[in-house]
């Protein structure tokens, strides 16, 4: 079922075959990031978009958009019979192939994304903080004592233009855990869609996700519930019913686990088919 040396050989051959594809994927992300920064930072006050919070928003928006896309493309070879056969006939067990997918999609991609993010973010941040400092000096020189001016100066304080670091984006360990679980759930859903649907997998996966969202809205309406109580579980501590924390924790841990398990079964059943 699992052999360390076989797994290592599988990982090495996958890396040598796929590194160009992954590099292009990240490069396209860097190009999109660059164009976005050009648009955001154009204009005299464009630098104000690159506060620490602005950088944080871009980082997480990019991560949550690109990670499921990357995950959905991991098994794109399964879309065609010839390449699917090659992939399934690799000398490795299904568990090893599945573990490699989990490692690449859920662990290595977020790390690679983070490195790629800073390719554009670092120079943009340096430029924005310089411009903010210059604008602050210009405002201080006016020194009229107006409170409106003081509020504008507060917005240009150096503390608001610190370089964003991913671990700073999480207020606590709970917040980090919640973000990780949410991300891996979306990734698992994307991988499952690419394995389950034999044709036009991406579109069918998006449609399936949309249907899940509609059904959950319907359930919340019928049960008169407040889904944000569930979705905010890791980020806030509002008053909850006594049995809810256990239910929510089970759901938050169980959903990604079951989705990844479904991916393993899908891979196994595709092999059999």
């Amino acid at each position: 079922m699992f052999d360390v040396r076989r797994f290592h050989r599988l990982a090495v051959s996958h890396a040598s075959e796929s590194w160009r594809t992954y590099a292009w994927f990240l490069a396209i992300g860097v190009i999109v990031h660059f164009v976005l920064l050009l648009l955001l930072m154009s204009g005299t006050r464009g630098f104000a978009t690159q506060t620490t919070e602005g950088q944080q928003g871009l980082y997480f928006a990019g991560l949550f958009l690109t990670a499921p896309i990357f995950a959905g493309r991991y098994f794109q070879a399964m879309a065609r019979r010839e390449s699917a056969l090659l992939l399934l006939m690799r000398p490795a067990s299904i568990v090893e192939k599945w573990l490699l997918a989990l490692l690449v999609v859920a662990v290595l991609y977020p790390l690679a994304y983070t490195v790629a993010f800073y390719v554009c973010n670092l120079p943009a941040w340096a430029l924005a903080s310089d411009r903010a400092a210059a604008a602050l000096m210009a405002l201080k020189a006016q020194a009229t004592g107006s409170l409106t001016l003081e509020q504008e100066m507060k917005m240009l304080e150096p503390g608001r233009f610190r370089l964003f670091l991913p671990w700073d984006g999480f207020g606590s360990g709970r917040s980090f855990a919640g973000t990780l679980l949410l991300l891996t759930s979306l990734q698992a859903f994307a991988v499952l869609g690419s394995l389950y649907f034999r044709s036009v997998a991406i579109i069918k996966t998006i449609v399936a996700g949309f249907l899940v969202m509609l059904v959950s809205m319907l359930v919340a309406r019928v049960m008169d519930s407040s889904p944000d109580q569930f979705f905010s579980f890791w980020w806030t501590e509002p008053s909850r019913q006594p049995d809810q924390p256990l239910l929510f924790l089970s759901a938050w841990l169980g959903i990604p686990a079951l989705l990844w398990l479904a991916c393993l079964f899908a891979l196994k059943e595709r092999e059999v088919a």
Binding site: S226, F230, S239, F265
Partner: protein
Amino acid sequence: MKLTRTTFAAALALYLAAVGLATPPRSIERAVALDMAGVRAVTLRSPGFVTLRLGSRFPPALHYTPAEGETVDVRRDGDTLLITSTMDNYNQLRIDLPATVAALDLERASVDSESPLEEMRLRASGTVSWSGDVRHLDLVGTERGMDCPRSLPCARRLSVESGRIERLTASIPNGVIALGASDTIGEAQLRLGPKAKLSLGAATRLEHLRVVPLDGAE
């Protein structure tokens, strides 16, 4: 793909169960009577949007539904009642006041007077709206720093939604003064700062409106 479908169905069922059973705890509205004897002014500090009602048909009181840890504090300072709340939701706090109150100092609120008043001086540092009949309404937009989320300047909007007003005076250093029903305003003198704006709603007549620059900040 039977096993795959079954496992996915289990994940979906768990997700829908969590969403469906995410019912918020029932909150209970509390009412606290207010001793308004000799009170002519009310100062209110609250991060959330508050509804105030002035009139003589109902007893003065606070009505609120606090979440865990949220409080409302009421103190007296001469003829001024100071109300401080930590509730930050919309309409989580409602305050009934007598028609004898002649001055309000607010942050974010809507004020509805059910009784005609002689005079009302309304100071506001955020978004405040007025409805009701009053002989003289004085609106003052203050530049006092407000504890806004993320230290961003808060939107400031003073609006007169409805009501017969014989004389309206207003001064605002920045933000918007909005006269929603200017037909029922007798005369108005507005002093606007360099970054302030005036908005006239469905105005069909406004014969005595004077707009002059504001000299210095309030």
